[in-house]
């Protein structure tokens, strides 16, 4: 979503903005989609963000990149699920007798998979970066109420998963 903000000179220098926020972005992307896909997600999200017509007028480009990253995750997950479905379908058709369901991922990603992209982002910003609710809301371009709600839900889901 475009943020109709006041013009900020350094928003034009997206490279500097990106470098300043790249570590946060790659860590958040890792939480969102895993380490293998995180670089691609970051690249795509940043590229889309800086090419949007409103980029030059964004007041907080770092937050804008975070929002773009979370938004891009949704598209990524849809693409990945369709790709996985296609590959599974192909595997089944190629060898229906020998097809085996892929083993469930039992590592920490199981816990995160229970969360939506927005919930993962809220969890990351809250627990890893220790951001207060208002700042998380700003970074994700949502209301504080949404952040609280998503945080509560995420915490409840994670607790259930972690408790087994």
């Amino acid at each position: 979503m475009i943020r109709p903000e006041e013009t900020l000179g350094d928003a034009d220098d997206w490279e500097a903005v990106y470098v300043a926020h790249s570590l946060r972005l790659i860590r958040l992307a890792t939480v969102l989609v895993g380490p293998d896909d995180a670089p691609d997600l970051v690249s795509e999200a940043v590229r889309r963000a800086v090419h949007r017509p409103g980029w030059a007028s964004v007041r907080d480009p770092g937050a804008y990149l975070v929002t773009s990253l979370v938004n891009q995750t949704r598209q990524f997950h849809r693409e990945r699920s369709r790709r996985a479905a296609r590959e599974e379908r192909t595997a089944r058709l190629a060898s229906p007798a020998g097809y085996a369901e892929p083993a469930a991922d039992l590592d920490v990603r199981v816990a995160l998979e229970a969360l939506s992209p927005q919930q993962r982002a809220v969890v990351f910003l809250t627990y890893w970066e220790d951001k207060p609710i208002p700042q998380v809301a700003h970074l994700l371009d949502v209301s504080q109420g949404t952040v609280r709600k998503q945080l509560d839900r995420a915490k409840a889901k994670l607790k259930r998963v972690l408790d087994g």
Partner: protein
């Protein structure tokens, strides 16, 4: 990078100040995940991420053809000039077409595959699939239609505009014009075909002047399901393919000022949200089929057809020119999906998303990346094959649109190991131009 430090501090949910062990467990979980984070992409890696298809320019505020502001920089101007190629050439040896019969067949010699101009400089992974001439009435004459024939009999129509058409459309200066395959004999006439020396690097062309018989007889190899109707009656079949009810070629006629355009199978569905309008044009299906496709894809395809959040948009009107007061769309973006046909087999649905002029966030309107092009991968099993993914090296969907808004979508067969579409979407003439000879206008 290894970073296993766990940020200290009380959990955010501990509203009463008491320590919640769950918070520590969540932090430990995050520590494990963050520790696995790879290095971030470099600036060069982010910058150089490219799309396999030609990028398309975003519609600048107020119009799709506004001139770039002064002081943009020479590099940017040159880059823009290079990108605004007046192009579109298609067809290769053996365009593979899916014909709904459970297999693939090749559209071979004798088939005519029209080609149209399309600006190719679009950012953010968007593919420009339309140019709203209404927003730029000073574009002048529309391109003429040139007919090329290859020695194996395959034919291609190339829309060749006046020398400065591309630059005018792009808002660039005339001196930054790119060479186009066109005639140099002056303005088009209402008579028969005209011939003239080509520009440097382009083959000899015979062009049909606007309004002549050549333009109205153009055909499109747009595969559509049966049931589509036209205002002119049954459409002719695709040349070279056996006549069958579920395969048809939609006649493409020239538009005002030159190439008339008509796609009688297009159903326009308008969505509105907070003052923003998006029109989804579905080609290739009749109205009920088109609405079904849109209804299914809108909430599901990751914002493919409507801006995110998808649930914020509601259908405003089903077909036609849109809601009262709607401004003409400034730009369209192509979405291609392959949907299950009514007979259970796959059917092509080609859609475009027209953006209301001035819509801020094109990226919210999804798609437009090559990765969003769906493709048939196993349509014989009759599954809904709405899929993402780039071409697999064997089949690629390439879409073009002419200045008047005709959408042409053609399957392009494998080009070989390199599978490089660049020459076809960026070039001004057929990639294998030396194979194309002048033919008489139709």
């Amino acid at each position: 990078m290894a970073d296993r430090s766990v940020p200290p501090g009380p959990g955010p949910g501990s509203g009463d100040g008491r320590h919640d062990p769950t918070d520590d467990r969540i932090r430990a979980l995050l520590a494990d995940v963050v520790a696995s984070a790879p290095p971030p992409p470099t600036v060069a890696e982010v910058r150089d991420q490219a799309l396999p298809l030609a990028p398309v320019p975003a519609a600048p505020p107020g119009g799709a053809h506004r001139r770039r502001p002064p002081g943009s920089g020479r590099a940017r101007t040159v880059r823009a000039a290079l990108a605004y190629a007046a192009v579109v050439v298609l067809v290769l040896a053996g365009v593979r077409a899916i014909d709904g019969r459970g297999g693939e067949r090749t559209v071979m010699p004798g088939d005519t595959l029209p080609v149209r101009y399309v600006p190719t400089d679009v950012p953010s992974g968007l593919q420009l699939t339309d140019v709203d001439l209404g927003a730029a009435p000073d574009l002048g004459p529309l391109p003429e239609v040139g007919v090329y024939e290859r020695d194996d009999g395959a034919r291609v129509r190339i829309a060749a505009g006046p020398p400065d058409w591309a630059t005018r459309a792009a808002g660039l200066g005339a001196r930054e014009a790119l060479p186009v395959a066109t005639t140099t004999t002056g303005p088009p006439t209402t008579g028969g075909p005209t011939t003239g020396p080509p520009t440097s690097g382009s083959p000899t062309t015979t062009t049909a002047a606007p309004g002549t018989t050549a333009a109205p007889s153009s055909t499109t190899t747009l595969l559509a399901t049966s049931g589509s109707t036209t205002t002119t009656g049954p459409a002719p079949g695709v040349a070279g393919l056996p006549a069958r009810p579920d395969i048809r070629a939609e006649p493409v006629r020239g538009g005002a000022g030159g190439v008339e355009v008509h796609d009688p199978t297009t159903t326009t569905v308008w969505f509105g949200h907070e003052g923003r309008l998006v029109a989804v044009d579905v080609h290739g299906l009749d109205r009920s089929g088109a609405l079904g496709v849109v209804e299914r894809l809108v909430p599901d395809a990751g914002g493919r057809l409507v801006p995110a959040p998808a649930d914020g948009f509601r259908r405003v009107t089903e077909t036609g020119a849109g809601p009262a007061g709607a401004e003409p769309p400034a730009m369209a973006r192509l979405v291609y999906t392959a949907a299950e046909g009514r007979d259970g087999g796959p059917a092509f649905v080609v859609t475009t998303v027209r953006l209301r002029e001035g819509v801020a966030d094109d990226a919210d309107l999804l798609v437009a990346t090559a990765g969003s092009f769906g493709r048939i991968d196993r349509w014989g099993d009759r599954q809904v094959l709405v899929d993402d993914g780039l071409d697999d090296g064997a089949t690629t969907l390439v879409s073009f649109v002419d200045p008047a808004g005709v959408l042409v979508t053609v399957l392009v067969s494998a080009l070989g190991p390199t599978d490089d579409l660049g020459p076809y979407v960026d070039g001004l003439v057929p990639a294998d131009e030396r194979a194309w000879d002048r033919v008489a206008a139709e």
